[in-house]
């Protein structure tokens, strides 16, 4: 490497009495703006809630920072022995999952043959669904199957899902649908 590579010129300039100081003019404290002076993290003092990442099954710990019930930040939980504060790209994006564009906040309903979504009140939708489940159960009730085996079940409706649901939710799904006599209850674990 030759000497020519080094900015000797500039270094030397900087060493000079007046010019040297002039070289640093405009770079000192007066260049700092008000916002920079008071800069700090937007999560300081916020409520922190410990959670778990909803993507893959590694089970990384997350900390959720909220301010007055609004989500501000989700990052890895450094205390978790699983991820020690780290997250993959999906986990890092999980705030955007919650605050995603097009997030549903209303029940959408499509009537038979309909070409567009309509909005439904939640209670109405729940009533309609309850009515349909009951009807499907009754319409397809089997005490015995076609081979004469005793089955005590309904084949009228099925369920798919659960791999990203909580175990409590899965428990209620299994418990309630089994009590209704449904057997076609499945989830991602098989797919």
């Amino acid at each position: 490497m030759g000497e020519s590579h080094r900015p000797k010129g500039f270094k030397r300039l900087r060493g000079l009495p007046v010019v040297g100081r002039a070289a640093d003019w405009g770079m000192g404290p007066h260049a700092v703006s008000k916002n920079t002076k008071t800069a700090g993290s937007r999560i300081a003092g916020l409520k922190a809630t410990e959670s778990v990442c909803p993507y893959c099954a590694v089970g990384c710990g997350q900390i959720v920072y909220t301010r007055d019930g609004e989500l501000v930040d989700i990052e890895g939980n450094p205390n978790s022995p699983i991820n020690q504060g780290t997250l993959c790209p999906k986990g890092s994006a999980s705030r955007q999952l919650i605050q995603q564009p097009g997030r549903l906040t209303k029940v959408k309903y499509r009537r038979p043959g309909g070409t567009e979504w309509e909005e439904l009140d939640l209670e109405t939708a729940m009533d309609m669904i309850a009515e349909r489940v009951i009807r499907a159960r009754e319409d397809h009730w089997q005490t015995h199957d076609e081979h004469g085996w005793k089955v005590d079940r309904t084949m009228g409706f099925a369920h798919l899902g659960g791999a990203t649901l909580d175990n409590e939710e899965n428990y209620l799904i299994k418990k309630f649908f089994s009590a209704m006599g449904a057997v076609q209850i499945e989830n991602q674990a098989r797919i």
Binding site: C56, A57, V64, S94, L122, M126, D166, Q188
Partner: protein, 877 residues
């Protein structure tokens, strides 16, 4: 040593891979065997490309090599596995029968497994049961087997002992054969084998990591069995740094199997009552599921406690605790079968919660069509997705094949709460139950599934409150008592967890674990394996003390972080980490050991063994229950306390893994030329599920699918998120430069992938990472496809693309009905002209081609295809 096969761990589980990298820095060798050179391969010390679907040939090669070179861990194999056990004379191997085991019935495509039994053993259940939907529960564990008279030969010399059978079965799985079948050069194979051997034994352990790269095959379960056999021969099970690790793909997919939303299971892996086996009374059920010997002697306690949890005070000994009113299964009611019932108009309604079958399920073109035959569909998710709007802009609607107005399905798309908007727990891939606190309220009408199920149940239960019909007994008597809170009357998730944990009926005291469960109705427990997660009335899953990770004395176990089932055990069968005398195999690998002074098992973890049982305890021949497990039988869930190198029962397609080609393979089965594909595998043989004929020159390319780090499964959780969408914006196919050149496909340009089911378009990623393989003297090209794209996104910055699952036929592993992801295809340059699944448009009116009675609900709809269906003229091509 970490051996990763059938998993792109760095891609799909980046944070899990953190620990692999740590191991690597500590000197571990990382081995990756996979068809797809992924980010995992890039970090591995050794990478071997393998032809998709040929894994059993590779595993068989390893077993062969380990046995041939005498490299197995003898003390472990003799004492802890069934290597010495002698199999009865009736058994015939695939080597004897040219690809079949004894007991094959070509008519039904199933095995009569009675001949696979141990000498002197008996299967308690009737021979020849054909419940291929539901792998008989008793089989899995050997429960019901009479083990008392079983003979063994500890010298491993008896020609019919398991060890000798293994040796014979894999005699032809030589390194040369592996090279021919898998395309892995002999030297690479031997290097991998020797690395595995060198890193196993007393002082060292190696770990096997797999994921859906194994499970999703017509021989998926047998691949995993093969991996387990290798690990057992090397002594890598039940020991720290060892094991067979299933990398599960969803936050609580483990939990959704433990507390199953699966048709053939009740919580805690208790089987659903089976009509075919006459499990109408509790006694029938317990007789079939329970076991005289080993842990499953407690079977009755678990089912009775479950019934108590479900039916509360109304479950009494007089009414069999309500058991007789549980619905019973009679065949395969899995997702695929159900969707085909829907296709044929047999299903009214479907709930889809947090799932996207229109993209994520195999043969998604058929799935979308089936949705249009439902009367109603309820979808719950965070945002609109392909499954909810199949009637609006699916490929079939856009292509003009189906008119929106003609679809009579009523659709409810319900806004769901996100993971931080509700409380509850996930079970991760290592069986850890981790509680999530709620951070904020869900927006608008978004609610948790807990809320939905609770309020749906309340409505339905109110409807049936006055019913006198006997079939409504479970609804009238359902114990549904969860407190509500907040303005939306959200049920309390901890109440549900308390019920799962279990309580003493009389006092309401939380149980401390499943050992407290009783069969007399004095205890209730929603899932016995989770019992203890709310011990002492404290939510154990919410524990957040990581402990001192740097403590060399087991600090890394973190036993006070969350809670693992069963009983907070972090490594299963950890009794095997000590030698038969109860001493650690080595100081370096010590984990759990017998403390003579204290007279109990102790260690870093909760011992997976009765604490006071001395290592020198010998079970009497007529002992029952746990007394039948000797002090040196670590695998106490099995009736014989041993790990099974050979499965006398439990698997429907053979006691030992055997190499069969995928259904759609461009090459012959070199090992068993007469039996190309798994003869017991599931195929739904319908016009709308056409298979590429094997070795069809029109489909010369092998395809397999993979996951990307930047996306999640069928995409609704990533494709709508601008931050993730931009990282992998378009569907692509990875293709080797040679094939690309042949077909005129340019890097970054468009290409189409074609099967009998569909034609999809993708950007070509022409890369040297994909290598053509030399298979039996010819060059076979593979392509790799990610499968995260679908036709809809909610945001301008989201991304859409063609759906890989449109390409794939419905077929499945016989044991668990999981899909087959290796398939054949062809590729061409350019874009597609029609909708992706236009090829199916005329195939939907089903004409029956073949059928077989497999005890399915509608037997003519589920068929099974073994070799017999392959056109004979193609055999010798």
């Amino acid at each position: 040593m970490v051996w990763i096969q059938g998993s792109g761990m760095a891609e799909a589980h980046p944070v899990g891979f953190r620990w692999v990298m740590k191991a690597k820095e500590r000197g571990a060798k990382i081995i990756h065997v996979d068809p797809h050179y992924s980010r995992t391969s890039a970090l591995a010390d050794l990478y071997a490309p393998i032809r998709a679907g040929s894994d059993i040939a590779f595993l068989g090669g390893l077993i062969h090599h380990i046995i041939e070179t005498d490299a197995y861990f003898k003390d472990y194999v003799v004492n802890y596995t069934n290597a010495a056990t002698i199999v009865n004379e009736e058994f015939k191997d695939t080597e004897d029968l040219e690809g079949y085991f004894s007991g094959y019935d070509p008519e039904t495509g199933t095995y009569d497994r009675s001949s696979w039994m141990y000498e002197g053993g008996e299967v308690a259940s009737a021979a020849g049961q054909r419940e291929h939907s539901t792998q008989a529960f008793s089989d899995r564990t050997g429960a019901g087997m009479m083990m008392g008279n079983v003979e063994s030969d500890e010298t491993l010399q008896h020609p019919r002992c398991v060890f000798q059978l293994l040796k014979k079965h894999y005699a032809r799985y030589t390194p040369e054969m592996v090279e021919q079948v898998c395309g892995i050069p002999r030297e690479t194979f031997l290097e991998i084998a020797d690395t595995l051997i060198a890193n196993s034994g007393r002082e060292r352990t190696g770990m096997l990591v797999y994921a859906v790269g194994w499970t999703q095959h017509s021989t998926g379960v047998q691949m995993i069995r093969g991996g387990a056999i290798v690990q057992l021969l090397l002594g890598n099970v039940g020991r720290p740094g060892g094991g067979v690790m299933a990398m599960r793909g969803h936050a609580s997919i483990q939990g959704s199997s433990d507390i199953p939303t699966l048709y053939e299971l009740l919580p805690g892996y208790l089987p659903m009552p089976r009509a075919r086996e006459g499990e109408v009374t509790l006694q029938d059920y317990v007789d079939r599921g329970g076991s005289a010997r080993g842990w499953w002697a407690n079977f009755d306690k678990y089912i009775v406690s479950l019934c108590k949890a479900w039916f509360g005070d109304n479950a009494t000994p007089e009414n069999d605790f309500g058991f007789p009113w549980l619905p019973k299964i009679s065949g395969n009611h899995s997702h695929f079968t159900t969707m085909m019932r829907a296709m044929d108009g047999g299903l009214d309604g479907l709930f889809v919660m947090g799932q996207n079958p229109a993209v994520g399920s195999q043969h998604s073109g058929l799935q979308r069509r089936a949705l249009g035959h439902l009367k109603w569909l309820v979808v719950r998710d965070l945002a609109d997705l392909e499954t909810a709007r199949f009637w609006k802009d699916s490929q079939e609607v856009k292509g003009g094949e189906i008119r929106t107005e003609d679809i009579q399905t009523e659709v409810f798309l319900m806004p769901a709460a996100g993971h931080v908007e509700k409380e509850g727990h996930f079970t991760n891939t290592q069986r850890l139950l981790q509680w999530r606190d709620k951070a904020l309220d869900p927006p608008g009408d978004a609610r948790s599934e807990l809320h939905f199920m609770h309020h749906l149940a309340k409505r339905v239960l109110a409807h049936y409150a006055g019913s006198t019909d006997d079939k409504d007994w479970p609804l009238r008597n359902l114990h549904w008592d969860y407190s509500e809170h907040g303005q939306h009357a959200e049920p309390n998730a901890e109440d549900v967890l308390r019920e799962i944990n279990g309580y003493e009926v009389a006092t309401g005291r939380h149980l401390s674990g499943f050992t407290e469960l009783e069969a007399d109705g004095t205890t209730a427990c929603g899932c016995w394996i989770y019992s203890g997660c709310f011990a002492d009335g404290v939510n154990q899953t919410r524990r957040r003390n990581p402990g001192n990770l740097d403590d060399p004395e087991g600090g890394w176990v973190s036993p006070e972080w969350a809670w693992a089932w069963p009983a907070n055990r972090r490594i299963l069968y950890n009794r095997a980490s000590a030698d038969p005398d109860g001493k650690p195999w080595s100081e370096r690998k010590k984990y759990v050991w017998w403390d003579e002074e204290e007279g109990k098992w102790t260690g870093y973890d909760v011992p997976d063994f009765p604490a006071p049982k001395r290592p020198d305890y010998k079970a009497a021949d007529d002992a029952v229950g746990m007394d039948a497990i000797s002090g040196d039988d670590p695998f106490m869930m099995m009736a014989d306390g041993r790990a099974w190198l050979y499965s006398p029962s439990g698997l429907l397609d053979g006691p030992m893994p055997t190499h069969y080609e995928p259904f759609e393979s461009p090459v012959d089965n070199l090992l068993y030329p007469k039996v190309p594909a798994n003869p017991a595998a599931l195929v739904w043989d319908r016009n709308d599920n056409p298979l590429n004929p094997p070795r069809d020159p029109r489909y010369p390319v092998v395809a397999s699918t993979f996951r990307l780090t930047e996306h999640h499964t069928a995409g609704p959780m990533s494709r709508n998120l601008p931050w993730l969408a931009e990282l992998q914006p378009e569907m692509f196919a990875e293709i080797d430069p040679m094939l690309a050149a042949k077909r005129g496909i340019e890097d970054g340009g468009w290409m189409c992938i074609v099967t009998e089911r569909a034609e999809i378009e993708a950007r070509a990623k022409v890369t040297h990472r994909v290598r053509p393989l030399e298979i039996a003297g010819r060059t076979v090209h593979q392509i790799s496809l990610p499968w995260h794209w679908g036709s809809h996104t909610t945001s301008e910055q989201g991304v859409t693309g063609d759906t890989t699952n449109d390409l794939i036929a419905l077929s499945g592993d016989p044991n668990v009905s999981i899909e087959d992801k290796a398939f054949s295809c062809n590729v061409r340059a350019g874009r597609r002209h029609n909708s992706s699944t236009a090829r199916l448009a005329h195939a939907v009116d089903n004409e029956l081609k073949l059928s077989g009675d497999h005890g399915a609900e509608e037997p003519e709809k589920a068929g099974q295809r073994g070799d017999s269906q392959h056109p004979p003229e193609l055999e010798d091509e």
